[in-house]
Amino acid sequence: MAAPESGDGNNGAARMVTLISSDNTRFEVEAAAASLSQTLQLTILDGGGGGGDGIPLPNVDSATLSKVLEYCIKHAPAAANGGAPNATAVDRAELERFDNEFVNIDQSVLYSLIMAAHNLEIEGLQSLVAKKVADMIKGKSPMEIRRTLGFPDPTPEEQAEMNAHMLEYGWAYE
């Protein structure tokens, strides 16, 4: 159904749905792309999101949503093929290149994205961003992690615990 040019079926046009971000921006997107979200899929299967209705997404702002949809649109054809068993190596390489490029973004955008992927239950995006965040924090010290992820400064008690841990598991800090 993500192949409007094939012409067989509903007037040759893919079904579109409208998503509304938290700041009231409307995004029109193919149902097949939006259905990558487990959360949206149910609503769409029920016939929601079409016409002037739109599906409100109060947890996702427009900047994040447009990024999420960029991912969904790119991945929808492969997903429609059921994980793309007949995808060529070129297609797969292209998706991989897209994915790498896609997460090469500012940390704050990355966090918004992982939250959105989590809330919308978009599995592929979730693991893509989780992997990126994992790579980001890999090799860092607990203190660096706290700074990277925006924790408040540790209390003296927390600091003492961190020191004790480091003493006990010194090799894990090498």
Binding site: S112, M115, E158
Partner: protein, 298 residues
Amino acid sequence: MKRRNNNAAGRGVLPLDVLFHVLVRLPAKEICRFRAVCRPWRSLTSDPVFIEEHAARHGSPLIVASFHDDDKHVHLMDLCGRILKTLPVPAGLTCLCSRLDLICVASLIGNISLINPATGAVKYLPNAPAEHFESHDSSSDEEYKVLRVSSVSTPTTWFDDREDLPCHGTGVLTVNGSARRTRCDMRCGIAPHYIAVFNLDKEQWRSIPGPRHGDYYDHGSFDDDEDVSKYFDMWTGSTLAELNGCLVLLHKRDPQDSSTFLDLWFLSDAKKHVWAPYWLLKSNYPSHLEAETLIAAR
């Protein structure tokens, strides 16, 4: 939970259920360090659900375990401490060692059997005096050699250049049978921090140092008797195994409380004798856990 309205992302602190997906991708060593980040991270990564998911992702080894109160079975246990399979053991035999696809059990008087952990099939080996036994496993093309040391009371003849302590405990061996090179490693508690290695091709003994006392207890040397006794505890609670082509020392610690801790040491550089600790996400197991040895990476 999925619908939690969360603005914490703006402050940079990810909610724990999102963090779960991030941390579960990291190796155990990273997780160990990250347990110091804060208490919520510590409880998240100590949670059985997390440990299970982590093990499933990273392919953690299985442990062949026997328990004090059951000498008729050995158990295949995952690192979460769950028994995946229970295999009957011929009466009077205890678990000696394992190598990927075989578990070796033996009695004090020298009866040896091999158990196939997949099928539970038991193969009885001939009794002494045959010192070497070669078996051909028809299900694969691999050939196994079992080295049997009929007396473990005179180890000093192997190492006359050292003031050796009497060999204690049962010798444990693991065989690396990759391709044509066959190696057999054997520990008899020869001296503090040494492992006897027998080369099956050359039929020669040599010794390699085990993980150093200092590495383990944060001391540089045996300063007093207590250290020495702690060190011997380390040997008596240890077994050797092979994992991913590495020699692994599995050390069981029984602190005062009712649980048992397992530590893994990998011989990461066999030439330079470098032992690397491998951190188990779960380290405390039931106290009746007795012999353990690693079987395979899943």
